[in-house]
């Protein structure tokens, strides 16, 4: 098993726009979550139990929300409804102290605190269409905006729900251990005034714990497991659309030794995070990055060792750029470049050694093969890296206007900005201030 060396980039990074940084310090422990509140604000939360609201433009600390006694396990925003009276955006945070607190994001006021949970809430999701939110722990609860418990499921599992997404037809899919459970939410109708939540289906196709679950589009969602299984599901009939198995040894018969090896290496192939655009699903698999094309139903580009250790979070930028952050403390910026391949040119075997296409399920395998022959293949090129954190970078947030925010286990948040652009903005503000002071004399 060969291990490709880590791609590095020198100090000269002409395409890297981030030439300014601002270190934000407010947390005393690992910062795990960042959530965008609006165009210029974001909130950060982590193991110290506090939530901090920041100005992404200036780096100014706007609010500090204190209320949780233990680490925060989930954070989500509840957007305001314009029709409603209470216009303020809410922030929901769940903590290991078995409470969920609802905050007013503008004032920092603690709107309400719910502490009737039997277990730690590990995920939160908002169904905006129904104006309800769901909390997933060992069971699944449905709440309305006024924080009334509408309904809940029975005890599902001791491990609890690790991920929760909304899918069409009032359904949600929850990842519980190795299985996916589809629930349907029954809104009150003329017949019954009660909310209800029903278990519709259990999907048991994953071999190991499901670590990541996101919506690809209205029609499909994707899940990734600890041993590198990537399954794309139909969101309407909950069937598998595609199955990718990322394994190290292509041979189907694994001997015991290999089995052990796999276990040891499993961390290297576990799928921590997904992101996707219209065409591709980007997966953070172990230390590598993989681009799976939805149309071709195959991996079109990969970086087997994109980082020194596990990639924790990835995001796709509008300009074909991909950003990844990792336990190694670095953030890397990649660009997806197409390289036109001759149809006749055989695909390098080394590339496919990585992916077990033989395991693609039957109905998918045929078209994939077809497409492979006259497909454009892509590559992920490293165009820059951001070195700042001294410990694992847990997550990042991209602001179109203000740059990139990263949070890390070193308790810091770093705001990365485009220096040139910031310089221009500062000049603009400078002349605005001059004008306000009446010190600006424009030549006629």
């Amino acid at each position: 098993m060969h291990k490709s060396p880590l791609q590095t980039i020198g100090e000269e990074q002409t395409q890297n726009p981030y030439t300014e940084l601002l270190v934000l310090k407010a947390h005393h422990d690992i910062v795990r979550f960042l959530v965008q509140l609006d165009d210029y604000r974001f909130a950060s939360a982590g193991d110290d139990g506090i939530v901090v609201v920041w100005n992404a433009q200036t780096g100014e600390k706007l609010l500090e929300l204190n209320g949780h006694t233990q680490k925060i396990t989930a954070i989500i925003t509840f957007p305001s409804l314009e029709s409603r009276e209470e216009k303020n955006q809410l922030i929901l945070t769940a903590s290991a102290d078995r409470t969920v607190i609802v905050w007013d994001s503008d004032t920092g006021r603690q709107v309400q605190r719910i502490s009737c949970f039997q277990s730690t809430v590990k995920c939160l999701t908002v169904l905006q269409r129904l104006d309800v939110w769901l909390s997933g722990g060992n069971d699944l609860c449905v709440w309305n905006r006024k924080l009334d418990l509408l309904c809940k499921t029975s005890h599902l599992s001791d491990t609890g729900i690790s991920a929760l997404v909304e899918i069409p037809k009032n359904c949600v899919v929850a990842a519980v251990g190795k299985e996916l459970i589809i629930f349907r939410l029954v809104a009150p109708t003329e017949g019954s005034l009660e909310w209800d939540i029903l278990e519709i289906k259990h999907l048991l196709d994953h071999q190991d714990n499901i670590l990541s679950l996101i919506n690809v589009n209205d029609l499909s969602f994707v899940t990734g497991s600890h041993i590198g299984e990537l399954i794309i599901w139909d969101a309407l009939d909950w069937t598998m659309q595609a199955y990718e198995r990322n394994f190290w040894d292509p041979s189907p018969q694994l001997d015991t030794q290999q089995e052990i090896k796999l276990c040891q290496k499993s961390n290297d192939i576990s799928i921590h995070h997904f992101t996707c655009d219209e065409e591709n699903v980007f997966a953070a698999v172990g230390r590598g990055l993989y681009v799976y094309n939805l149309h071709m139903k195959r991996v079109i580009a990969c970086q087997k060792t994109a980082h020194d250790s596990s990639v924790l979070h990835i995001a796709k930028l509008p300009n074909r750029q991909l950003i990844s952050c990792s336990e190694d403390g670095s953030v890397r910026i990649w660009e997806l470049r197409e390289k036109q391949q001759l149809a006749a040119e055989p695909v390098p075997t080394g590339f496919f050694n990585m992916w077990g296409f033989g395991r693609v399920n039957k109905q998918a395998s045929q078209p994939v093969k077809k497409q492979q022959e006259n497909a454009t293949s892509c590559s992920l090129e490293l165009i820059g890296d951001l070195i700042g954190h001294s410990s694992s970078v847990e997550m990042f947030l991209y602001f179109e206007d203000h740059g990139l925010v990263t949070c890390s286990a070193d308790h810091l948040i770093i705001l990365w900005k485009n220096g040139e652009r910031e310089s221009g903005l500062r000049s603009l503000r400078l002349f605005q201030k001059l004008e306000e002071n009446g010190d600006l004399y424009l030549a006629v």
Binding site: I387, G419, L430
Partner: protein, 936 residues
């Protein structure tokens, strides 16, 4: 290395020849006058004349009513300083030019003694025979036991350099006014306390006498009074009169004109005191009553004593010392101020002028000067802000000054147009007259506002003084506040006078009289100005009611009275004090009435067993002190606060004096003078508030930093990229094992580090733990310990990890890892073949180069069209190209020099935008550029 120093330097020289840099002529106002004796072949630092003292000093003298003019103390209090200089003779000279007519007595038409609130007079006096020239500041302090209640004092700044005194007149005047104000403030307090005690004594005496009279009345009911009884009755009557007089005096001292205080330096405590009293006066209809209640209610018990009817000989008593007159706290503060003055004006005139011009120029560049200038000198505004922080004493003023809130003596400023006319006269004189002539001329500062008149008087004076030949006198009567005396108003009411008569009367009262408040009031509750008087003399009312308006009126008055003031001022003033002349002490002055100075040798009547033991003198003083403070509730707390910050107040003044003057500094080595100061400050910093912050701004520091920087430049061929790193905001890490060496180099290189704000430079002299991203945001120059142990591996690992943010200068291996530099700026700034030898010179060279750089950054930052599109459709690319061409073509920047100006521009923007500077660290900007390893 390809950029071998010699080659580079050679090409550089050629470049210089091609484009000679034309230095624009220095504006005249910034040029320092050349040393006047240059053509005589004298070196500027030789002693000008046969002065008998080694350097400038401050002398405080008193015109004692007992022994005449006598020196009290000198600052520095070191006999070596004034050497064989005859202080007694000089005291006589300086006291004899006291033009202020300070007197208390019975002015014609008034029945009670009155206090004059006299402005200080400021005189320049020269004694060419002694080789001494002096700025003399006369002031009057009140003393109940003194003749006319006044004690004339003067403070003199004595120097061998006449020009120094003349050219620094404004500054000297301002500084001495502060000291004087401090003394007078303390004196008013002490005087009021003294009066209160006296009143108690009198009150007690009255009670005793009254009882005795009653007893006698009862004892003999024959229908007629015995002579003894009549005597007692007379005695009682005179005590009553004395009480009224003293109450009146107390009221006068407390009603020290408010508007005067607004303009001057004053301790907040005093201000509160006064306001307190003002409110007191307004709330209670009868100030005497309030004073009485004060006396009996809210103060520690003072045991009154009986006042003997017979007066003691005034020569018997021991006059109060200056410290007693002003109370210790204020006295100490004054001494601190005087020491500060002495430090401030130390050294050669050229040096003083240069540093003043320097400061003035710095103030003009208030937008950019935070970048490279030492923050202390940056500007007064900043200094004031810092002043509230006790740990940062400013150079401009000693920390003690923070008690007095007003930073500049407003006497000068508030005078406004009047004063400026005076100043212009002075300057004109300097310009018109040659050096020789100038020496001989008596320049007189006129209190007249009329320029024509001014000239006339000048002529007159010049003639007069030239004939006198020997001495030079500049008379500056520094005041314009004129307050029509109340006694005048009263007099004018009783004896109808035309305004013209009132004016001439004012003349005869001598100029300063308009400044005095002479309360002639038998009715204690009466308002300051009777309404009917207000109606008849509106100008006087203006004076009383509003300060600026009062000015106008004052000038009119002054104008008419100027002539006598110039010529025979003394005589004029003496004419007015007939009552004072023949009166030896108060007792006599009040016609043998029972107003006696309380003396320790005082015997108390023990008749009827109504006895009080006379308290010890110093205890009395103590109590008076406390009494004074208990009157104002707000004052003690503020006082406490300030005392906490400045423990100097608690110091023994003599200790202060002694410590300030271990000086061995001579006049001709003033570069050492300041360093001496800093060393004194550092050695005794725990006890003495240093007028100069130790460290950054001291000349020694600059010299050393300059020297070490010079050494670095000569020693390391890669000095240029290292300095470029500092100037462009890339953190330079100086790595080394030896802390002393690292610190030395860091200190030297710090002169190239632009500051973020007006606080300390972003320099960390010594760090031993692994660096973190925050460090690069915070510090731009870091001295880092190299550790051989495994722990050091972490440090090095962090360094290599963050290598893109840093340049690393390895002192042990003599290597530098940093980006390439190909500009022309740094070679000029740090030319290893420079002819500059001295560290301080090099420091100044760097400063001037950096100032030039700052101005480029300023132009770039504040050029509107470079940063904002001129029209909506302009693309960013166009804007960027315009910026680039401006930097390149207009500012003449080459290659990486652009980055330096851009970085400085960003700092300027941030600094300008910041509402409260120093609150946050600016962003960390960096470039993705490759680094190179330089070796020797």
């Amino acid at each position: 290395m390809i950029s071998a120093p010699d080659v580079v330097a050679f090409t550089k020289e050629e470049e210089y020849e091609e484009e000679p840099y034309n230095e624009p002529a220095l504006p005249e106002e910034y040029s320092v006058p050349l040393f006047p004796f240059v053509n005589q072949g004298a070196n500027p630092w030789s002693k000008l004349s046969g002065a008998k003292f080694s350097r400038d000093f401050i002398l405080i003298s008193e015109f004692s009513e007992q022994v005449g003019p006598q020196p009290l103390l000198t600052i520095p209090n070191d006999t070596k300083v004034f050497g064989t200089f005859d202080l007694n003779y000089f005291s006589l000279r300086i006291m004899s030019v006291d033009y202020q007519a300070s007197f208390v007595g019975h002015p014609p038409g008034s029945a009670y003694p009155k206090l004059n609130f006299v402005e200080d007079s400021k005189v320049v006096l020269g004694d060419s025979k002694e080789g001494a020239f002096a700025y003399v500041h006369h002031l009057t302090l009140y003393d109940l036991e003194a003749r006319g209640f006044v004690r004339p004092f003067c403070m003199a700044y004595i120097s061998a350099d006449q020009h120094k005194i003349m050219q620094q007149f404004q500054e000297l005047s301002a500084e001495f006014s502060r000291a004087s104000e401090c003394l007078k403030t303390g004196n008013r307090k002490a005087f009021a306390g003294e009066l209160e005690k006296k009143l108690k004594d009198l009150d007690y005496t009255r009670t005793v006498l009254h009882t005795e009279t009653e007893i006698q009345k009862k004892a003999n009911d024959k229908g007629f009074y015995s002579s003894q009884a009549i005597e007692k009755a007379n005695e009682l009557a005179s005590v009553e009169k004395s009480i009224i007089e003293h109450q009146d005096l107390l009221k006068q001292i407390r009603s020290y004109p408010h508007r005067k205080l607004k303009g001057c330096d004053l301790c907040p405590g005093e201000m509160e005191h006064i306001q307190d009293q003002a409110s007191q006066a307004s709330t209670t209809s009868n100030p005497d009553e309030s004073a009485d209640t004060d006396l009996y209610t809210c103060r520690p018990a003072y045991t009154p004593k009986l006042i003997k009817a017979k007066s003691t000989k005034c020569f018997d008593k021991k006059l109060k010392t200056l410290e007693e007159l002003c109370d210790t706290e204020y006295f100490t503060q004054t001494l601190t101020q005087l020491s500060h003055i002495e430090h401030m004006f130390r050294g050669d005139l050229c040096y003083l002028l240069t540093s003043q011009i320097d400061r003035a120029l710095l103030k003009q560049q208030h937008i950019t000067n935070f970048l490279f200038e030492d923050f202390v000198e940056v500007d007064d505004r900043m200094v004031e802000k810092q002043e509230s922080i006790p740990s940062k004493p400013s150079q401009d003023r000693p920390p003690s000054r923070s008690l007095e809130e007003c930073p500049i003596p407003k006497v000068l400023i508030s005078v406004g147009s009047y004063k400026s006319s005076v100043e212009s006269v002075l300057i004109k004189m300097e310009q018109e007259l040659g050096d020789e002539e100038y020496k001989e001329v008596e320049v007189t500062e006129l209190s007249s506002f009329d320029p024509q008149e001014n000239l006339d008087y000048l002529d007159m004076d010049m003639k007069g003084s030239i004939s006198s030949g020997e001495s030079i006198e500049v008379l500056g009567t520094e005041k314009s506040t004129s307050v029509l005396s109340k006694s005048d108003s009263q007099a004018s009411l009783t004896v109808p006078l035309s305004p013209q008569v009132v004016r001439s009367k004012a003349v005869s009262h001598r100029t300063i009289s308009e400044d005095s408040i002479e309360v002639l009031s038998t009715c204690p509750s009466e308002a300051l100005i009777p309404d009917d008087f207000k109606a008849s003399y509106p100008s006087a009312i203006n004076e009383e009611e509003s300060y600026p308006d009062g000015n106008e009126g004052a000038i009119h008055f002054q104008a008419s009275i100027s002539p006598p003031e110039l010529g025979e001022t003394e005589e004029g003033s003496m004419e007015n004090t007939p009552s004072q002349i023949d009166s030896c002490c108060i007792g006599k002055e009040s016609d043998g009435q029972l107003v006696l100075p309380s003396s320790p040798a005082h015997t108390h009547s023990d008749e009827d067993g109504v006895v009080s033991s006379p308290p010890q003198r110093h205890r009395q003083k103590d109590q008076g002190f406390r009494v004074d403070f208990s009157m104002e509730n707000a004052s003690p707390s503020s006082r406490d606060d300030s005392c906490e910050g400045f423990p100097a107040y608690e110091l023994d003044p003599s200790h202060l004096l002694a410590n300030r003057d271990i000086s061995k500094t001579s006049l001709d080595n003033y570069s050492d003078t300041t360093s001496y100061v800093s060393s004194v400050a550092s050695t005794s910093s725990d006890r003495i508030p240093s007028a100069y912050p130790a460290g950054l701004s001291s000349d020694r520091h600059k010299k050393r930093a300059g020297q070490n920087a010079l050494k670095f430049i000569r020693q390391y061929p890669f000095a240029h990229p290292a300095i470029y790193s500092l100037l462009s905001g890339r953190t330079l890490v100086v790595l080394g094992e030896d802390e002393a060496i690292v610190r030395k180099l860091v200190t030297a290189l710090a002169i190239f580090v632009p500051s973020y704000g007006c606080y300390a430079k972003p320099v960390k002299h010594w760090a031993s733990s692994p660096l973190h991203i925050m460090d690069f945001q915070k510090w731009k120059l870091i001295g880092l310990q190299r550790v051989a142990s495994p722990a050091g591996a972490g440090t090095l690992h962090a360094l290599s990890r963050y290598s893109r943010y840093t340049s690393i200068l390895d002192l042990d291996n003599k290597t530098l890892r940093c980006p390439l530099y190909r500009g022309t700026l740094v070679p000029r700034l740090a030319d290893h073949r420079t002819q500059i030898k001295r560290g301080s010179t090099y420091y100044l060279h760097v400063q001037s180069m950096l100032t030039q750089l700052c101005s480029k950054a300023f132009v770039y930052t504040f050029c509107h069209h470079l940063h904002l599109p001129t029209h909506d459709k302009e693309t960013e690319e166009l804007l960027a190209s315009r910026q680039a061409s401006f930097l390149k073509l207009t500012l003449g920047l080459v290659n990486e020099d652009v980055r330096v100006v851009q970085y400085l521009a960003e700092l300027l923007k941030l600094h300008y935008m910041q509402e409260s500077p120093g609150t946050s660290h600016p962003m960390l900007g960096f470039d993705y550029v490759p680094s190179f390893l330089y070796k020797i």
